[in-house]
């Protein structure tokens, strides 16, 4: 049985036929793209149905987020969001809350909504917007309902007395110097680990985690994705995660596939020599199912977290003189890269600062000298700070870029003031240069570091507007055409799935994202407000309300 999809317009992302109005699909695979009359030869002798609910809509290739973290998201999504930025979530849009009064008002509303003994977990607090937080402030609003207020960075949290009682914080154990301020109910850095060890029964409880994964499934659908990349499978625990993922992200009701990329450091944890990594990674392929796929991909780590200003920077560094950190000892990173490079793997390296990037590029250069490889797909993940010279190196070495462009929106203003200054802050996510250099470039959310909304990533990449409304580094903006390519075909290349998805052409899977407006002709400022009407995954329609 054939299905004929008709649309106002089909944006194919196939350069050889950029636009069409009809797509013919058989058993989840595209067999013909073009105008309705081009379908005739197929239809003459075969039964078919016409799917015409999209005749007023625009069909795009199914969106792809090539880098997010389902397991982290599963922990966070059961929490309530009070954030300074807009988050569009399936169960309601989170309106920005940008002052202390607003935060308290919303905390109060959430508190009364919950039943008496149900603890309230709030995520998204940030002192720059929401003022100083404390146990007393929480208690003024939420009284003795156990309430935990988690910082947007995830690196600190506040609890009221009821929450501390609930999880078993022993006040007598807490002494000065422990990075716990018991009076304020504040747990940070070392003290955060103490709190998390006690909170784990609530946040990692199997039913919570399962509910979180179900929410993640909704979020991914809601964002219009038909493919995602889990870029650190095993971050908690390989078998538990793989089991949970196959339980919740596999099956006919799941409207997307997931490329699983194993966390390389965890894979060889326990003193396993890096040389044995590829062998262990190879064994993971046994777990593959229809929607969940390990490939010959591995994730490794260079420098520290961007949100915590732990990216390693070249001179002149941070304004306050502090230094970033290495997530992996440089020599050990090189050993890991060498081992996977020689085994023919596609390597994804987390890089945030320009020094972290330089280290990674220097290692890649060495690998190319040891064993030249073409089409190796080496990918620089996050790509916060870079220099124009590094763009040329990336191009020369044949690497690709997967950027968290949202950094620019949320952080470029505050990093201008308290971080690295205007020049470098305005050039975060140097995407225009990447496209001009012909580097395969995509954007990602690293969800929950940024909203899992490809149209929002597209909006930031095209407009480069930060949260206070300033345009930052206008020449690094990309066109809507480039941005749409970033979230479809280029993303498919980065996760090694361009043979089956990322564009609409005969032979690929029928993965579509169906929009009310045309993202290539609309006002670029409206990109993030385009309504997603439905997604189609392998020929099956999944409507969005």
């Amino acid at each position: 049985m054939l299905t004929l999809y008709k649309a106002r317009s089909v944006i194919t992302m196939n350069e050889s036929m950029p636009r069409a109005t009809a797509v013919l699909v058989r058993d989840g695979m595209i067999v013909e793209v073009g105008e309705p009359e081009h379908m005739e030869p197929w239809l003459r002798h075969q039964e078919y149905v016409v799917e015409d609910q999209f005749v007023e809509k625009v069909i795009c290739p199914g969106f792809i987020d090539p880098h997010l973290h389902p397991s982290m998201a599963a922990v966070l999504l059961p929490m309530e969001f009070i954030t300074a930025m807009r988050w569009k979530l399936p169960w309601g849009e989170v309106e920005p809350v940008t002052d202390a009064e607003g935060f308290d008002r919303r905390m109060g509303a959430l508190s009364t909504k919950k039943s008496v003994d149900e603890p309230l977990f709030i995520w998204g607090y940030h002192q720059l917007w929401h003022g100083p937080m404390s146990r007393a402030r929480i208690e003024d609003i939420a009284g003795d309902k156990p309430t935990v207020v988690w910082h947007r960075s995830f690196h600190e949290l506040y609890m009221n007395a009821a929450a501390m009682d609930m999880v078993g914080v022993v006040a007598a154990e807490i002494k000065p110097g422990m990075q716990i301020d018991i009076e304020r109910g504040w747990f940070f850095e070392g003290g955060l680990g103490y709190a998390i060890n006690r909170l784990n029964p609530w946040i990692l409880a199997p039913d919570k985690y399962a509910a979180g994964l179900q929410r993640l499934k909704q979020v991914v659908h809601h964002g219009g994705h038909t493919t995602i990349g889990d870029l650190a499978t095993g971050m908690f625990n390989f078998s538990a995660e793989a089991e949970a993922l196959s339980q919740h992200l596999e099956g006919d009701d799941v409207p997307f596939r997931t490329r699983l990329v194993a966390h390389g450091t965890v894979l060889t944890k326990g003193g396993v020599p890096p040389q044995q990594g590829p062998e262990l990674a190879e064994a993971l392929l046994q777990r593959n199912s229809h929607r969940l796929h390990f490939g010959r991909h591995i994730k490794l780590f260079s420098d520290g977290a961007f949100f915590s200003q732990l990216a390693q920077l070249q001179e002149p560094g941070y304004i306050d003189g502090h230094h970033g950190e290495w997530l992996t000892t440089p020599e050990i990173l090189e050993q890991h890269i060498r081992s996977y490079w020689h085994a023919g793997y596609q390597i994804h390296v987390h890089v945030t600062g320009d020094l972290g990037l330089q280290l990674t590029l220097d290692i890649l250069q060495k690998m190319q000298e040891e064993k030249p490889r073409f089409n190796h797909g080496f990918t620089l993940e996050h790509f916060g700070f870079s220099t124009p010279e590094q763009i040329r190196q990336i191009q020369a070495l044949g690497a690709q870029v997967s950027a968290n462009v949202y950094y620019l929106h949320e952080l470029s203003d505050s990093y201008t003031q308290n971080g690295i200054g205007y020049e470098r802050a305005s050039q975060m996510a140097r995407l225009g240069s990447c496209f001009r250099a012909g580097i395969n470039t995509t954007v990602h959310s690293d969800f929950t570091m940024a909203p899992a909304e490809p149209l929002n990533s597209m909006w930031v990449a095209v407009n480069r507007i930060n949260h206070v409304g300033d345009v930052m580094g206008a020449t690094e903006a990309i066109t809507p055409q480039q941005a749409l390519q970033a979230i479809t075909l280029n993303a498919a290349h980065v996760i090694g799935m361009a043979d089956i998805t990322g564009s609409i052409r005969a032979g690929k899977r029928a993965d579509f994202t169906v929009l009310d407006e045309d993202p290539l002709t609309c006002d670029p400022l409206d990109l993030r407000n385009i309504n997603i009407y439905a997604t189609v995954f392998e020929g099956k329609v999944f409507p969005l309300a």
Partner: protein, 289 residues
């Protein structure tokens, strides 16, 4: 019944990759000198001879636990705090924590304030063969220098391979090959340099004092002062400006060596670090001139 909460000391063993942390920890494990009820948390098992250790000790209270690098925001349950949580209610009385090669002691120290614990000392290994080169490395030069700066006690490794190596710093320094190196490391307390004892049941403890003179002293006077030092002084090390030029002082036990300093004087940081096993003796040294 209320139980007294006894805080467990954590001794950090830091230093860059290749500085000899693993060798040093293996020696500790196999020396027989490791006090019982000591948990050793290693950064990753790597080359630690875990089995050998477990067989040797035959005691369930000694534990070697492997940790992987982790950040709470990226892994929710990081290995270190989970391990500390488990050990908190165990019979373990002290912890040796091997840091990752890229850890800065002051950031690692933060972790040692985990409820039920306190940071006892930051010991940093420095590799005599590669340290100087590594300090110039564009990726880790700053880090390696910071590791040394933030150390309470520096342990020089591989000095046999580079006997002329000299770390220009006024911090307490010992050699990994010294006979009593293990003893000094285990007994080191981070606030020892304030000249007072710390509440610990660990013995022996070591104390340190730094002496600097703005004016040159006479060589004879210096020699006399060194001879008069009490018996509990284990080590004296440093450079002193005298009427006979800059003199390098090295004393281990009662063996004192005074050598004229031949390198350019502007590289010399003047002062003596004195390490003693009795705080009172250290306090009684009155060298004010």
């Amino acid at each position: 019944m209320t139980k007294m909460i006894t805080e467990k000391p954590i001794t950090l063993i830091g230093g860059y990759l290749g500085a000899g942390k693993t060798t040093f920890i293996n020696r500790l494990l196999n020396s027989g000198g490791l006090p019982s009820r000591t948990a050793v948390l290693v950064n990753d098992f790597g080359d630690i001879n875990v089995d050998e250790q477990l067989i040797r000790s035959g005691s369930k209270s000694d534990q070697v636990i492997g940790l992987a690098n982790g950040c709470v925001c990226c892994s929710i349950a990081d290995d270190l705090t989970s391990a500390l949580e488990v050990l908190k209610s165990s019979a373990i009385e002290r912890v040796l924590l091997e840091c990752s090669g890229v850890a800065e002691p002051h950031r690692a120290r933060v972790q040692c304030h985990y409820p039920g614990y306190y940071p006892h000392a930051s010991v940093v290994l420095v590799d005599a063969l590669n340290h100087q080169q590594r300090c110039k490395d564009k990726y880790v030069g700053t880090l390696v220098a910071a590791q040394v700066q933030q150390a309470d006690l520096i342990v020089i490794s591989k000095s046999a391979l580079n006997p002329d190596f000299c770390l220009q710093t006024l911090q307490p320094t010992i050699d990994a090959d010294d006979q009593d190196a293990m003893e000094v490391v285990l007994g080191w307390g981070s606030d020892a340099n304030h000249g007072h004892s710390i509440p610990t049941n660990l013995a022996p403890s070591f104390f340190t004092q730094t002496w600097q003179s703005r004016l040159p002293v006479s060589l004879a006077d210096l020699t006399q002062r060194l001879e008069d030092l009490p018996g509990s002084v284990q080590r004296v090390k440093g450079l002193v400006a005298t009427d006979a030029g800059i003199i390098e002082v090295q004393r281990v036990g009662t063996d004192t060596q005074l050598t004229p300093w031949t390198q350019p004087p502007h590289t010399a940081q003047l002062g003596l670090v004195i390490i003693a096993s009795a705080a009172d003796d250290l306090a009684s040294i009155d060298w004010a001139s």
